[in-house]
């Protein structure tokens, strides 16, 4: 394949036999690059029993899907994944490979980078094509979001990066789109892993993981105690959101670490981020710069969180929460009566 029509690739994520929604977000990223480059956009689909789902990726924007469907890929085992990705990139020589910054993408992409000697940029928030060189410009926050760095990859392709989940909306599903499905049978020697998957225990908490949530209701030390976090959970349930927390709240044992937002926790990209009793330390702010709208409740008028909030409410977190929950419930029941009429 020559250098002028090298494809843009996205790495689809599979859960069981289904395609995880981030795979569609990746295609929205990919389209923005493949169009100006005038090259096909392809998705890589590796899994067990996933081939029947490939059309979903076409409908979400892919021109091609490379499918590797084998029982061996039932679980995500990093060594096997790296092997298959090396095989595919060697065989088809794509120009760009975009993956999601999930625990999987963040594991397999650095390994692939080392395996094939290509550069990798983590957690990009913007991708564009340099009109002069035609190379990929990868923009990512550094140092707790205080700095945005534009990064270019040199040396051999693919130019590789990860992007945060939820940082772009998927394209509208278009079932009339036509695309090419390419089944790839890898050599037998690439199947099999030194690792053994022993089982999965789902978490029982409310809502989606915070990295995937559209609405996050976060609490900090200002929530005073673990019991008050139940209010946040109730609000999260009402709004279809997920509970997040500052490090203080996690360190005090009020919430599990998986809920921690910020520099040493997770970076989040919800549509709405609500912060109750969070001061807004730089390390916390670092995790929420990707939030579309920030609402902060704090009784200190000087709280730094107010500098980054779209709506700042000075007041007692518990009082506001109770009143907000009441108001939403009341509205809910009123609508009920209205529609019942």
């Amino acid at each position: 394949m020559n250098g002028t029509n090298k494809e843009v690739w996205t790495l689809a994520e599979v859960r069981g036999k289904t395609i995880h929604p981030v795979s569609k977000e990746l295609l929205a990223w990919g389209r923005e690059l493949a169009d100006p480059m005038r090259v096909p956009l392809a998705s890589i689909l590796v899994g067990s029993g996933v081939a029947p789902r490939a059309e979903e990726l076409i409908a979400a924007g892919a021109d091609k899907v490379y499918i590797v469907d084998d029982p061996s890929f039932e679980n995500f085992l990093c060594d096997e994944q790296v092997g298959i990705l090396e095989y595919l990139t060697d065989k088809y020589n794509p120009s760009i490979l975009i993956a999601s910054a999930t625990t999987r993408g963040r594991t397999v992409m650095p390994m692939l980078s080392a395996r094939i000697g290509c550069g990798l940029t983590a957690d990009c928030t913007e991708l564009s094509i340099d009109p002069v060189s035609g190379r990929l410009i990868q923009t990512r926050p550094a140092i707790g979001g205080n700095v945005m760095a534009d990064i270019k990859t040199r040396g051999r392709d693919p130019q590789m990066c990860t992007v945060r989940p939820k940082s772009k909306r998927p394209l509208d599903t278009d079932r009339s789109r036509k695309g090419e499905l390419i089944k790839v049978s890898p050599p037998q020697s690439l199947l099999g892993s030194a690792l053994k998957f022993l089982g999965f225990t789902p978490e029982t908490s409310v809502g989606l993981p915070i990295q995937e949530a559209e609405i996050i209701i976060s609490g900090g030390k200002g929530m005073k105690n673990a019991k008050n976090f139940a209010k946040l959970e109730e609000l999260a349930r009402l709004l279809g959101g997920t509970v997040g927390a500052s490090r203080m709240a996690v360190d005090l044992g009020w919430v599990p670490y998986s809920a921690q937002v910020g520099l040493s926790g997770k970076s989040v990209t919800p549509r709405i981020y609500m912060a109750f009793g969070i001061s807004g330390a730089v390390q916390h702010i670092a995790g929420i710069s990707g939030a579309e709208t920030i609402i902060a409740v704090n009784h200190d008028p000087e709280a730094p969180i107010f500098r980054v909030a779209d709506l700042s409410i000075q007041g007692d977190a518990m009082e506001i929460l109770d009143a907000l929950i009441d108001s939403l419930k009341k509205e809910q029941s009123e609508r009920w009566t209205l529609t019942a009429d």
Binding site: F197, F200, Y257, I313, L324
Partner: protein
């Protein structure tokens, strides 16, 4: 059993600057600390040693950086690691994660073999989290990322629990293996006075590119595949609306509900 822990010195998070010309971080004159997430890796190593018979486990902390990064290795020793090594050379300067991982892997090969290698989930300066898995791949050993507990460890295998999206998964791998803990794995110990004294007495050897027989083209800026081409300082401050407590709870709640409505975020509540 021999364990290596990769530790990195990072600028204390509040005080970092960037050189606008080169796009690299200015480390001079900024207070430094051991990357907070690496403390969990050190703690994990110490706990493995404690579970095994006396003298059966040896822990080496390895760090790569400018001469003053010796402190990071020394801090790991003061927490309880048996020894520390610094990889330092002008030729290592400007390494991206690929070049860093390649250099660290070279050192691990030279100083090894190690049965378990531990790294932090992410460094608070670069924030990529790429170095651990990439080092594993350079050594062609499995990378166990996001590990929340080590459940079993014998001479041949390690079984861990990983904290992934939506839950925890159990995984068994042959050793040698790379283990990358998340914060929930443990609470790192503070270093004791005795530990500090021991660290003072422990010599931290320094290895350069020649010691590692590392080709100049494979490390530092030359060996890096990514280049920072431009740096900007985003304005994080948002022009927000502010409601003071004097306005009363009712108005505050109304403002929140109105905003949620405007953003179409009330569907679930209805």
């Amino acid at each position: 059993m021999r364990i290596a822990v990769l530790v990195k010195q990072v600028p204390a998070t509040d005080s970092v600057k960037i050189d606008e010309k080169t796009g690299t971080m200015v480390r001079e004159g900024v207070e430094a600390e051991l990357n907070p997430l690496d403390l969990h890796a050190v703690e994990a190593a110490l706990r493995i040693r404690e579970c095994r018979s006396e003298g059966a486990t040896e822990i080496t902390a390895i760090t790569m950086g400018p001469p003053q990064a010796k402190k990071a290795a020394a801090y790991a020793v003061s927490m309880g690691c048996d020894s520390g090594v610094l990889l330092s050379d002008k030729r290592f300067g400007g390494s991206d994660t690929l070049a860093t991982s390649r250099t660290l892997a070279k050192a691990l090969k030279k100083l090894g073999p190690f049965d378990i290698i531990l790294a932090g989930e992410r460094a608070t300066d670069g924030e990529t989290g790429q170095v651990g898995p990439a080092v594993a791949e350079f050594l062609r050993i499995p990378a166990l990322t996001y590990v929340s507990s080590i459940d079993e460890l014998d001479e041949g295998h390690i079984t861990v629990t990983r904290s992934v999206e939506g839950g925890h998964e159990k995984m068994k791998a042959p050793i040698p293996a790379m283990v990358i803990p998340v914060k929930e794995m443990n609470i790192p110990r503070l270093c004791t006075l005795g530990g500090k004294l021991r660290a003072k007495k422990t010599e931290i050897p320094v290895l350069n590119a020649d010691d590692l027989a590392l080709d100049e083209d494979l490390t530092g800026l030359k060996g890096s595949a990514t280049l920072v081409v431009n740096v900007t300082y985003p304005q994080m401050t948002r022009e927000g609306r502010k409601i003071l407590s004097s306005a009363g709870t009712k108005d505050a709640v109304k403002a929140i509900v109105d905003l949620l409505e405007e953003k179409n975020c009330l569907e679930a509540a209805r």
